[in-house]
């Protein structure tokens, strides 16, 4: 395009005879007299604008309905409005505190006023919950104080008054927390999501062993996803090979067996695994019937890791087979025959000639299955039990039960970062434009 739109210049024709070079129309024009260069670039711009206008409605829709919520969630993971708004006087007063011993009387007086006001308009619970994430016991401390100061007059000595209500006010720890969380933004949700916390000196340290939870869960999620990816590859590779090398009529028929699970409801597939794997289920009954196991020796295959791995391997298998198949379909069978005719054994020909050509498919299918797997929620939640839980289950837990939304957002953001990195890798490897369905 660029060579046309830049237009032919007179200098491009050095062999012309002089009288022609002098002649006027050195600039090519269209029928209505506009120079070709102008006309073409106008046309190009118009096509560009037309394409963008076609995409615009969808793009705007998706930004509003999907992208903005995601960014909103990301901001929630660092958002820290409770302490700065609810304890605004205390925050202003505690700013100059050097952290040694207890804060000065002015800080206690400010805290008294803040808590009293919060108790009166019933907004103190938010900040109490927020501080409790940082310092266990802070919630009951604040709520107890709120009940006591609600109708109290400002005492002469606020320090003594508060410590009299609860001696925890005499412990610098709570004041350190308030000072630390007085910024409108906080890193503490991310620290909690990575099993870390601030110590008394305000340094970032690992939580004590018995309090650690999320790092192990991240690792378990990654490990189980890797295992599931490997299992789908192990099962998917032979099937994809068979489908790619059978006559079209038969392979189309067999393809239905791959596509049907793909189209079947996720919940149906999960339910069916519960029916098959549970201790009074089909598989255990069959094994008891043929005498493989005794009636009291029924195997526990569900509500644990085994169940999650089996069900998810089944659910994600089509996502491995389809990309593998589309790559294998493009490998001419003559390559293998050529290798064989030159004396390679079957195994050697496969290893050195066929397998390397399928690596692109393995990469595409592998990343796809892995991405889908680390973000899975429904199946681990239904068949995972305790040991088969994924990190996603804790996002749901903090969203729905503990209502610690900041922590849910922080865990989700970390997971999202992992997915985005893998997605970019996938995009580099396959190109989202080349993604095929069905």
């Amino acid at each position: 395009m660029s060579t046309i739109s830049s237009g032919p210049r007179p200098a491009d024709y050095p062999n012309r005879r002089p009288e022609e070079a002098v002649a006027e129309p050195t600039v090519m024009t269209t029928a209505d007299g506009t120079p070709l260069k102008v006309s073409l670039s106008r046309k190009l711009r118009r096509s560009k604008i037309k394409a963008m206008l076609l995409v615009a409605p969808l793009f705007v829709f998706l930004v509003v309905s999907f992208v903005m919520p995601i960014f909103d969630m990301l901001s929630r993971s660092v958002d820290n409005p409770e302490v700065p708004t609810e304890l605004s006087r205390t925050v202003a007063a505690i700013e100059g505190w050097d952290g040694e011993g207890l804060p000065p009387e002015t800080v206690f007086a400010a805290a008294f006023q803040d808590i009293k006001e919060g108790a009166q308009n019933r907004s103190i619970g938010r900040v109490a919950t927020r501080l409790n994430y940082e310092e266990s016991g802070a919630r009951s401390l604040i709520m107890k104080t709120a009940r006591n100061v609600r109708n109290a007059e400002m005492p002469a000595n606020a320090k003594a008054f508060l410590i009299d209500i609860d001696e925890d006010w005499g412990d610098p720890a709570i004041w350190h927390v308030i000072q630390r969380e007085s910024d409108p933004y906080t890193l503490s949700y991310y620290l909690a999501a990575l099993d870390m916390e601030y110590n008394a000196q305000g340094e970032i340290v690992e939580k004590p062993e018995y309090m650690q939870l999320y790092v192990d869960l991240f690792i378990r999620t990654l490990w189980m996803s890797l295992l599931i990816t490997f299992l789908t590859l192990l099962l998917g590779y032979p099937v994809a090979y068979l489908l790619a090398n059978l006559p079209m009529r038969i392979s189309n028929l067999l393809m239905i067996m791959v596509l049907l699970p793909f189209w079947t409801s996720l919940l149906v597939r999960t339910t069916t695994w519960i029916a098959i794997l549970q201790s009074q289920g089909v598989l255990n009954d069959m094994m008891v019937a043929v005498g493989l196991i005794s009636d009291d020796g029924r195997l526990q295959m569900i509500h644990n890791q085994t169940g999650t791995i089996i069900a998810m391997t089944h659910i994600l298998l089509p996502f491995m087979i389809l990309p593998l198949y589309s790559v294998m379909k493009t490998i001419p069978p003559s390559y293998l025959r050529a290798a064989r005719s030159m004396g390679a054994s079957q195994l050697y020909a496969f290893r050195r000639v066929y397998f390397p050509q399928t690596l692109a498919g393995i990469g595409a299918g592998g990343i796809l299955v892995f991405i889908l797997s680390i973000g899975y929620y429904i199946t681990p939640a239904l068949v995972g039990g305790q040991s088969g839980r994924f990190i996603t289950n804790f996002i749901a837990y903090h969203m729905q039960s503990s209502l610690n939304w900041g922590l849910a957002a922080a865990i989700a953001s970390i997971l999202l970062a992992a997915v985005v990195i893998l997605y970019l890798l996938y995009n580099r490897l396959v190109g989202v434009d080349n993604m095929k369905l069905g």
């Binding site: 096509s47 560009k48 037309k50 394409a51 206008l53 076609l54 995409v55 409605p57 969808l58 793009f59 829709f61 998706l62 999907f66 992208v67 903005m68 995601i70 909103d72 969630m73 929630r76 032979p238 099937v239 068979l242 059978l246 006559p247 079209m248 067996m257 791959v258 596509l259 699970p261 189209w263 079947t264 409801s265 919940l267 149906v268 339910t271 069916t272 519960i274 029916a275 009074q280 089909v282 089944h314 089509p318 079957q346 680390i374 973000g375 929620y377 429904i378 996603t392 996002i395 749901a396 969203m399 849910a408 999202l416 997915v419 997605y423 989202v432 434009d433 993604m435 369905l437 069905g438």
Partner: protein, 283 residues
Amino acid sequence: MAAPENATAPEKAWYYIFRVLCALIFLFLIGPILVIIPLSFNAEPYFTFTEAMLSFDPAGYSFRWYEDFFTSDEWLRSIRNSFIVAIFSTILATVLGTIAALGLSSRFMPYRSLVMAILISPMIVPLIISAAAMFFFYSKIELAQTFVGVILAHTALGIPFVVITVTATLTGFDHTLTRASASLGADPTRTFFRVILPLVTPGVISGALFAFITSFDEVVVVLFLAGPEQRTIPIQMWSGIREQISPTILAVATLLVLLSITLLTLVELLRRRSERLRGMTPG
């Protein structure tokens, strides 16, 4: 592809072992889905085959779970809700997605791969994250616990499927056809309706079917975003599995398998038609 005649004995053995292995994997893929169908006719409230069922005693089979399903207000309402949400979100996703695909397949589209990556992202971002994000955001603008909110969310989730299938159809589109049409005197509108649309329709419909099943099968976003008024079939199944597990779920599952078989057949037929129209062999 029979075993080659000049194959050595171990090669022949491997050939048959390979076939058996593949058959087992196919069984693993399809078996669990088929097992659920006879189980749903169980006369007893069990999730396994009873003695009577195994001896093909008619008394072991019954339609009681189907009856249960079709007479339960809760289930019937969830069917209605599922269809409302799926139909509206499919229409929205298909219209927006098809128009966008026309622009995306133009070679003049700037930042094509970046835009494409953003449009595909709802398919890649884990559902639990989308659900959490949408819950926060839609609550703020008071769309949580409304049909509009759930429909908009499902539209976003269905869009990647429409965009992918329609752009794939348009990639194989022969642009000389539009020029031929124009040279024969058709204006752009006529060209669109008489030339472009018939050729891309199979892609549009299969994109729409993908969007439909995505919405129809979606649990997590509805779980977070919907109120009691918007309970869909998957939610009903979800709470059924977690709380009071009854074989009614198996009856629902069987009906859903039938639905997916229907949709799959439709998509396959459309794909073949589309490839035939473009002069390619089906496959």
